[in-house]
Subunit: 189 residues, 2 copies
DNA sequence: CCTACCGATCGGTAGG
DNA sequence: CCTACCGATCGGTAGG
């Protein structure tokens, strides 16, 4: 077993924070996960809080990058919404630990970093809001939709996926994306 | 200040578990919240884990009772779905602490109690699934809807409300219910 | 309901 | 990356 890199430590921290929660994960457990003593981790990182900052930051960046790429697609508002949905689902499934930590453990961040995360979420939500507004204006969507609550509804569906979706099930990621898209557009009636 | 009741202790525990998380709440803090020493709590309860069991159990019961009443409504599948949505929102807004603890802290329960919670959730989800199935069969909803994923989508929207809704805002609970209902039925197009 | 206290565990440091 | 250790805090108990 070769020496551990700082990246290994952050990745393992993401796994444990996602599975057991930040406050329920000790540095000794994290060490054990890597075959190290807890105290040895301090040669890789400054402390536990820094690990949380890093993991949550990665989650935030993944979403941010994915959204920017999706919004840059040319095409109708409907197509851009579909791209946003697809991108979000890819991030959730490809970076599950970071996403779960980002969604569920950000409360444990110190005030300044928590403020940054909230800012990042607002920006992300704004991408969805804008697409809905455009679509309402150009006739792709209902003219009387509410960009604020409706974008929250779409994002609620997307953020919950981490809680129930299993890759081993019968629904693959493509099907999942088109079901979310169809539900968001047409609902159940 | 008169003596504290067991109920006071459970209610305060719900508040702290919801706000700060189970593992980040100490018995001493809980005591402080009630004007007591941490050790004094043990004359009211057996321990910290029991408090979690009780708070989460209350959350589960609130949802269960609300769903049973809503499903018993006579009327179309659409009307019963609307009743379920309305009931869920009332529970979320009236018992916020218990609901948040139920949704976010159940992972900290011991195995047996966690199994009970999962069972309770399954039963609750089944109520939504049944209504969707009925509506698909009798023509109230799309015949090709997927009861499993579509009920998860509706519940995702409902469960996320706790995370963003503020009673001080411009949307009251009636408006919120009808927006969720409309979105679930018709989507944004 | 309080005081006094227990053993265990926590995040983190010193020194190699 | 380890050993040895620190002060602080944890859930909980004894005895009143």
């Amino acid at each position: 077993m070769t020496r551990r890199s700082r990246n290994d430590v952050v990745a393992a921290a993401g796994r444990l924070f996602a599975q057991r929660g930040y406050h329920n994960t000790s540095m000794r457990e994290l060490g054990r996960e890597l075959g190290l003593e807890g105290s040895s981790l301090y040669s890789h990182v400054d402390g536990k809080q820094q690990l949380l900052v890093e993991v949550v930051g990665r989650g935030a960046d993944f979403f941010q990058d994915a959204a920017q790429a999706a919004v840059a697609t040319d095409g109708s508002a409907a197509q851009r919404l579909e791209a946003l949905i697809r991108a979000h689902i890819s991030v959730v499934l490809d970076y599950r630990d970071e996403v779960r930590t980002f969604l569920n453990e950000a409360y444990a961040l110190d005030e300044q970093h928590r403020a940054l995360v909230i800012e990042s979420r607002d920006r992300y939500e704004a991408a969805f809001r804008s697409v809905l507004k455009e679509g309402a204006a150009d006739g792709s969507f209902r003219a009387d939709l509410d960009p604020v609550t409706d974008s929250i509804f779409v994002l609620s569906i997307l953020n919950a996926i981490e809680r129930w979706y299993r890759a081993e099930g019968t629904v693959d990621r493509e099907q999942l994306a088109s079901r979310v898209y169809q539900f968001s557009l047409e609902g159940i009636s």
